[in-house]
């Protein structure tokens, strides 16, 4: 892409891009730390996630301000306009990811000293790794302007949904086995749900990134595979 005649316009766009990358980096680090703190009962690490969320909120505000100022000053067109509008939306999704990570970290005390049962810990950790990989990949493809990879990445969210269903079933089994597991398992269930929601935000980011790159919107009907609704009714019958 060529440079603008007005070079400070390029600088302003680059700053917005930089903020998106920083926010994404922080988001994936927060998800990673939050999950580790919960599974390993690490209160100090959890605290760091909670304080990081404030930085995330501040970054989003800064990005919004820069984007709005840029629109007012430059009246961007075409791919520039798409990039600025999508940056505002992507920052909102990244900020939400931060919130969800903070919510996971806040549950550290509630799960208890013993932490999560080992088998379960493994499945949730696997789910977290999938989510983190998605966050990192979506920004990588956005920066590389790789539309095809973004489409694939969006479809890959289905794998997270499947993993969530598996974790959900596993947690139900633990709770049925021993009622004393109910409290920690409920918190872990929220953790898994949050990870699943983070996956959805990554999907939104992929859609916005795709729009920036191509100027076209992806079709609405992405396959959805959250079977927990069915699992519950099967358990009740």
């Amino acid at each position: 892409m060529g440079e603008h005649i007005v070079s400070s316009f390029d600088d302003e766009l680059k700053q917005i891009d930089r903020l998106i990358r920083d926010m994404a980096e922080r988001a994936s680090a927060m998800v990673s730390s939050a999950t580790r703190s919960l599974l390993g009962s690490d209160a100090a690490l959890a605290q760091r996630v909670i304080s990081d969320d404030a930085l995330m909120d501040a970054s989003q505000r800064e990005l919004d301000e820069r984007a709005i100022t840029l629109i007012a000053k430059r009246q961007p067109m075409a791919q520039d306009l798409r990039a600025v509008v999508a940056a505002i939306r992507m920052a909102a999704d990244l900020e939400r990811i931060g919130d969800l990570a903070k919510n996971i970290a806040k549950r550290v005390g509630a799960v208890g000293e013993a932490g999560a049962p080992r088998g379960l810990s493994h499945s949730i950790d696997a789910m977290a790794q999938m989510v983190i990989a998605q966050i990192e990949a979506v920004i990588e493809y956005y920066v590389a302007r790789n539309a095809e990879a973004l489409v694939e990445l969006r479809a890959d969210d289905e794998k997270i949904d499947i993993q969530y269903t598996a974790v959900f079933r596993e947690l139900l089994t633990y709770m049925m086995e021993d009622p004393r597991n109910i409290t920690p398992c409920t918190h872990l269930l929220f953790c898994a749900k949050n990870l699943e929601r983070i996956g959805d935000h990554v999907t939104n980011i992929a859609e916005n990134a795709y729009y920036v790159v191509t100027g076209a919107q992806l079709p609405l009907n992405r396959p959805k595979l959250d079977e927990t609704g069915m699992t519950v009714s099967a358990g009740e019958s």
Binding site: M1, G2, E3, H4, I5, V6, F9, R74, Q75, P76, M77, A78, Q79, D80, L81, R82, T214, G215, A216
Partner: protein, 292 residues
């Protein structure tokens, strides 16, 4: 109304050309990137392979475009790209320029604009024009608007003429501001009012098409907003073509946008497509301010 049928003179020529017409291609030579409207409006002005030469210098290369009726079409592009030249072809204003030669075909409602039999004065009544600088006649406000209808014999008596003048001033959103001083000189009005007076003058002869060559470039933002509001109102009854250097203005007032560069029509399509997702790189570079 102009429709592509087998009765069209062009269609009676070479078989290959007929195929081109039928499949709705604009030209074999055309490299223009086109995005059609989802529900296209009927065409009022049709240009095919229009080239313009100033002496030996070619200013416009094989421009083909359909201008829809009851819509605003904006021509954008850097200075010297040929957009004003092309605009002036539509009502044969180029005839007045020494050494200017126009080839190709331009139709207004299916009739050849360059037909030697055609009365140019009558054509320019049907295709009105508003210029960059407001240019009222050195006459009263009333006379500025009455002049056209009078020479074209559009009014049978004084009452009818007054009706036309008042109606045109109202359509140009100027009447309320000038109703108490209709017999004062038009040149005494503010720039924005003068421009609306020129629009009223153009409307007075009941044109079908109104060409506007940078109508707001000499006006302040408020006067510009009034003209833009007026353009939006006029769109219901007229076909409007506007040349503008303000990309934001093109985005605001037009339904279709055509981008010219170095005498070539590079891309044309719905305005929202041109400004949010243009397909041609040159268009993208120009509207995002990346043009060297």
């Amino acid at each position: 109304m102009n429709k592509d049928t087998v009765m069209e003179p062009n269609a009676m020529q070479l078989p290959s050309e007929r195929i081109v017409e039928r499949s709705d291609l604009y030209s074999i030579k055309s490299s223009t990137v086109r995005t059609p409207d989802e529900t296209p409006l009927p065409t009022r002005v049709k240009a095919r392979e229009v080239s313009v030469f100033y002496g030996a210098k070619q200013a416009l290369f094989d421009v083909s475009i359909d201008v829809p009726e009851r819509a605003v079409t904006a021509f954008i592009g850097p200075s010297g790209c040929g957009k004003s030249t092309f605009l002036r072809c539509l009502n044969r204003m180029n005839d007045t320029i020494e050494g200017c030669r126009v080839t190709g075909r331009i139709e207004l409602d299916g009739a050849d604009v360059y037909d030697p039999q055609l009365d140019v004065v009558e054509l320019r009544a049907r295709v009105g024009m508003v210029f960059q600088k407001p240019n009222p006649f050195p006459k009263s406000i009333f006379e500025n608007v009455a002049y056209g209808p009078r020479i074209h014999g559009l009014a049978r008596n004084k009452t009818e003429l007054e009706e036309i003048v008042v109606g045109s001033l109202k359509k140009a959103s100027l009447f309320e501001e000038v109703k108490d001083r209709l017999h004062e000189p038009g040149t005494g009005l503010s720039g924005g009012q003068q421009q609306r007076l020129c629009i009223a003058r153009a409307i007075a002869v009941s044109p079908e098409v109104i060409l506007m060559d940078e109508p707001c470039s000499a006006l302040d933002p408020i006067a510009t907003a009034k003209i833009e509001e007026l353009i939006d109102e006029l769109r219901a009854n007229y076909t409007i073509v506007i040349v503008t250097h303000s990309m934001q203005q093109a985005a605001r007032v037009s339904q279709r946008t055509a981008f010219f560069h170095l005498g070539i029509l590079v891309e044309e399509g719905p305005t929202e497509t041109i400004f949010t997702g243009p397909r041609e790189k040159r268009t993208q570079d120009y509207i995002t301010g990346r043009f060297g």
